[in-house]
């Protein structure tokens, strides 16, 4: 091995430490000579899936994230089964219990946490265990096959998952909890009561407000199978188990053992006694009462610890050579106990280990899910409320549904959902983004996913879907396939699932369902992508907003300049960032920037829509849907001349010629001699109109003329995504204006302007912006709104996505309240469009000719 490489030693072969290495290897594969110490005898496994292993739904083999080969392949020295007992900071080396040593230049502490054991008499008895690792899980599985009575102390997430698993393995399980209701740190009483009821229906027993006083053991027979497993006979509460009839302890049943078994006695837990004097039998006691950051090693090495190894925003401890991530860490006073934040820490830590130095960990919001099949529960934030908070509640106990949102100053600060968690990630997003929900209030509880999602049979609730039901209608992916991939491939994020299963990777309408499946499969480990800090793509850590800002402030005027400035990871970027950068530059510098055709998706490069067979479609612009006999004749002649296989009236009030060969496109355009319809672009599409007051007996405004004027004003406009408008001449709204990016509805006294609607994947009804009197005002407000969208939305946001993020209040402030700002926006839009040429006219003259010309030769 190259001895000159910097040496990195990792202590702790668990989820956070190894995720940091994975991230590091992506960024700087050759930088370090890496050594890992792990106290467990296994490769890196997915600890959170110990629950399904216990429940018998998976095996240890299924939950390995990185087997031993992975370490070899990446040149990592792995010391399994070796506990590091000393860090020598002066000599920069670590020493393990068996004397093994390793020198370091950088050290990464990822020692996780230790389960807390109640300090009661009997806690060290055989049969009293925690639930943390493979060893514990094996012991529980083993116990389940031999014993009857399990007592789980602690009615939190971990305790309930343990109890559920032991029950499924045929044990008689009692959960003992100190507090008056279950999961009190995640649930309010109403939700907890529903949860308890469902778990009781699964056969679990609960003893609430019980304090353990003592765990009692006695010499018992060595374990032997006492019951056929797992189909045990049902049994009433408190029944004493055959075949060994154990009366009160201290009683004499042990002494009355048949003499031939005498020699085989060993001590083991037999019962548990509470403060109130009651006692129940227990052959297995699982303590799940909390965890403590594992800081012993760090403290002994003199590192500053305070309920966790204290780190700064770059995951560095007080010794700059030593980093720490995971449950052992205290960051800004918080030690996290869920995977999602630890993975964020891992990403930041890797960035600094790779010496890129551009990312910071600023803390995480976490949310909770219980991984018990059939139970749907979600909680996040402050769900109890307090001074100055209000609650929005839906409670349907007999339907088993409870939803509560805690709101303060028009923002969601916490939520608890039980029974129907379809909108958990939506609320979580609103919470984390601190979004103002005043506009959404009325429909918050009915939920986001209930409105107009298409493509998956109207399903909103993943939990109730059978495995074989299709989730993704574009790629034909069933629920079972997704669950299997998440478990077997160790997937944690929506993007992982998209990559591996294709689900949600096309139109995205099933994203909500996929998120639910992900959340219920991996529990709180799932953290919906942080929308406010979304990097542009995998080539950079900078956000859309940061990049747009720098383009203007730093006067970056080409894609290579922008990529250079932000130190793009891949020289040519990728198919996601290049089109985005191209648009951002175009929008920032409408006259100076030279469009880069190679960074355009083919439709925008060829100015036609590619079809599944590689041919193209041609959609000439027909302003406002109003045409003439001459125009129609011309279209018909072209269709005949080029033997166009399909001529179709589109849903956008114009004509589509489908199946044109690419090399014929310039000729077709020349013959049509009509403007491009931009049916292919992230650009202005159509302005739909109705007949309006010119003909219609109900019409109160001339919607047709206004629609045509708008379409002309916006002609040739590029945008973050497609932009569609419609104008209706009266509230009957025949042009469907209320599902458009900008929709205008004529009323007797003027025009109403609606924004941020769309049909499509997820139908969104537009929101009222303002009412105005004249067509000129409609023009100004609409154009200003569109320009604001062009300047501030992220590439591939439609208006609704952007408005949902910034809030309608903001939009109104910029467009309605600020007259000078509105005018300026309108002017900027006009300026941006003043030089745009019709792409077809240019191409007919020979621009970009080689794009359309194949090279031919025979062989």
């Amino acid at each position: 091995m190259d001895t000159k490489k910097t040496k990195l030693v990792v202590i702790g072969n668990g989820m956070a430490g190894i995720r940091t290495l994975e991230e590091l290897l992506k960024l700087a594969p050759d930088m370090y000579d890496i050594t890992v110490f792990g106290a467990e005898p296994h490769g890196n496994y997915n600890r959170i899936l110990l629950s399904p292993v216990l429940a018998g739904e998976m095996t240890i083999k299924d939950i390995m994230l990185n087997d031993v080969d992975w370490y070899t392949q990446n040149g990592i020295t792995l010391h399994l089964n070796k506990t590091v007992t000393r860090i020598d900071r002066a000599r920069r080396k670590v020493v393990a219990a068996d004397g093994a040593e390793a020198d370091y230049d950088r050290l990464l502490l990822a020692t996780g946490s230790n389960p807390f054991m109640l300090p009661v008499p009997g806690k060290d008895l055989p049969g009293v265990i925690a639930y943390r690792d493979i060893k514990d899980t094996d012991e529980m599985i083993e116990a389940a096959s031999r014993y009857r009575h399990a007592v789980v102390i602690g009615g939190g997430l971990l305790g309930l998952e343990a109890a559920n698993g032991l029950k499924l393995r045929g044990m008689d399980v009692t959960v003992v909890h100190l507090m008056p209701w279950l999961m009190e740190r995640q649930l309010d009483r109403a939700a907890a009561d529903l949860l308890q009821k469902s778990l009781e229906a699964k056969g679990l027993k609960f003893l609430l407000e019980k304090q353990t006083e003592q765990i009692i053991g006695a010499s018992v027979l060595p374990p032997h199978r006492t019951h056929p497993h797992p189909s045990l006979p049902p049994e009433g509460e408190g029944t004493i188990t055959p075949p060994l009839s154990r009366g009160r302890l201290g009683g004499g049943w042990v002494d009355s053992l048949p003499p031939e078994r005498e020699g085989a006695r060993s001590r083991r837990v037999t019962s548990i006694r509470f403060k109130d004097g009651t006692e129940i039998p227990a052959d297995l006691v699982v303590m799940a009462v909390g965890i403590r950051p594992n800081t012993g090693l760090a403290e002994a090495a003199g590192l500053h610890c305070n309920r966790g190894v204290v780190v700064n925003d770059t995951m560095q401890t007080y010794d700059p050579r030593i980093y720490a991530v995971g449950e052992c860490v205290s960051h800004r006073g918080i030690a996290y106990g869920l995977v999602a934040p630890l993975f964020e820490q891992a990403r930041v830590c890797a960035n600094h280990l790779a010496q890129l130095g551009i990312s910071r960990y600023t803390g995480s919001f976490t949310s909770t899910k219980l991984k018990v099949t059939g139970i749907d529960l979600f909680s996040a934030g402050n769900f109890i409320g307090g001074e100055g908070t209000e609650e929005i509640v839906l409670s349907d106990p007999s339907g088993g549904v409870y939803k509560k949102l805690v709101v303060k100053d028009d923002k969601i600060i916490g939520s608890v959902l039980y029974g129907d968690t379809a909108d958990g990630s939506w609320y979580f997003q609103l919470l984390r983004d601190g979004q103002n929900i005043r506009e959404l209030r009325g429909r918050l509880l009915s939920g986001q996913s209930h409105l107009g999602n298409s493509g998956h049979q109207g399903q909103n609730n993943a939990a109730s879907m059978p495995d074989e039901m299709e989730v993704c209608g574009c790629n034909g992916v069933c629920k079972g396939t997704i669950v299997k991939a998440i478990k077997e491939k160790g997937l944690f994020t929506l993007n992982d699932v998209r990559k591996h299963t294709k689900a949600s990777s096309s139109c995205g309408s099933c994203t909500g369902l996929v998120e639910q499946i992900l959340a219920s499969t991996i529990g709180g480990a799932y953290l919906p992508a942080d929308d406010t800090r979304k990097p542009l793509c995998g080539c950079t850590d900078y956000t859309h907003e940061e990049i747009r800002k720098a383009i203007i402030e730093r006067k970056l005027k080409s894609i290579p300049e922008a990529m250079g400035f932000f130190e793009w990871r891949n020289v040519n970027g990728c198919a996601s960032c290049r089109p985005a950068l191209n648009y951002y530059l175009l929008c920032a510098w409408p006259h100076d920037y030279r469009d880069d055709p190679q960074s355009r998706f083919i439709n925008e490069r060829a100015h036609a829509n590619i079809q599944k067979d590689g041919t193209y479609s041609v959609v000439p612009r027909i302003y406002g849907g109003v045409t003439t006999p001459a125009q129609l004749k011309r279209i018909a002649e072209v269709a005949e001349k080029y033997a166009v296989p399909t001529v179709k009236i589109t849903g956008g009030q114009r004509v589509d010629l489908l199946g044109v060969k690419k090399e014929d496109l310039p000729k077709v355009w020349a013959d049509l001699d009509m403007p491009s319809g931009f049916a292919y672009g992230k650009s202005i599409r159509t302005v739909k109109t109705c007949v309006g007051s010119e003909w219609c007996r109900f019409g109160v405004q001339d919607s047709t003329s206004l629609g045509i004027a708008l379409e002309k004003a916006l002609d040739r406009m590029w945008a973050p995504h497609k932009v569609k408008l419609a104008v209706s001449g009266c509230p009957r709204n025949c042009a469907e204006a209320t599902i458009k990016d900008v929709g205008i509805v004529g009323v007797d006294s003027g025009w109403e302007i609606y924004v941020a609607g769309n049909g499509g994947i997820k139908a969104e009804v537009s929101l009222f912006l303002v009412k105005v009197k004249s067509a000129e005002e409609v023009m100004e407000y609409s154009c200003a709104f569109i320009q604001l969208y062009r300047e501030e939305a992220r590439y591939l946001d439609r208006t609704v996505h952007w408005v949902q993020r910034v809030g309608m209040d903001y939009v109104k402030k910029r467009i309605v309240a600020d007259a000078a700002g509105r005018e300026a926006l309108h002017e900027r839009l006009k300026d941006a469009l003043r030089n745009e040429k019709d792409p077809w006219q240019e191409r007919v003259r020979g621009v970009a000719a080689r794009e359309f010309a194949p090279i031919r030769f025979q062989s």
């Binding site: 591996h500 198919a575 190679q598 599944k612 080689r850 062989s859």
Partner: protein
Amino acid sequence: MSEWIRVCPLEEIPRLGSRVVQTGKGDIAVFRSGSDEVFALRDQCPHKGGPLSQGIVFDRKVTCPLHGWTVQLDSGEAVAPDCGCTHRYRARVDKGEVYLSIS
């Protein structure tokens, strides 16, 4: 053993772009990378036959325009987790001219 056929001057293929060469054996996409390397693939995506020539090119990769698979230009292999391969032809540049071997 192989026969090199002259295709066109390198300039005729846009950088980070491609040209379609129509041959008796079907369309071949000839790509030019950012560093002026050339690659040739059968113009059919391993997924559902989409025309790779029309995709966005970066590094030694192209993203298919139909459903976004990414295909490795130097091997014709789809980038993981997608799985599939399209036929690769040999291509080279000599004195500013692009040559292709389709035997």
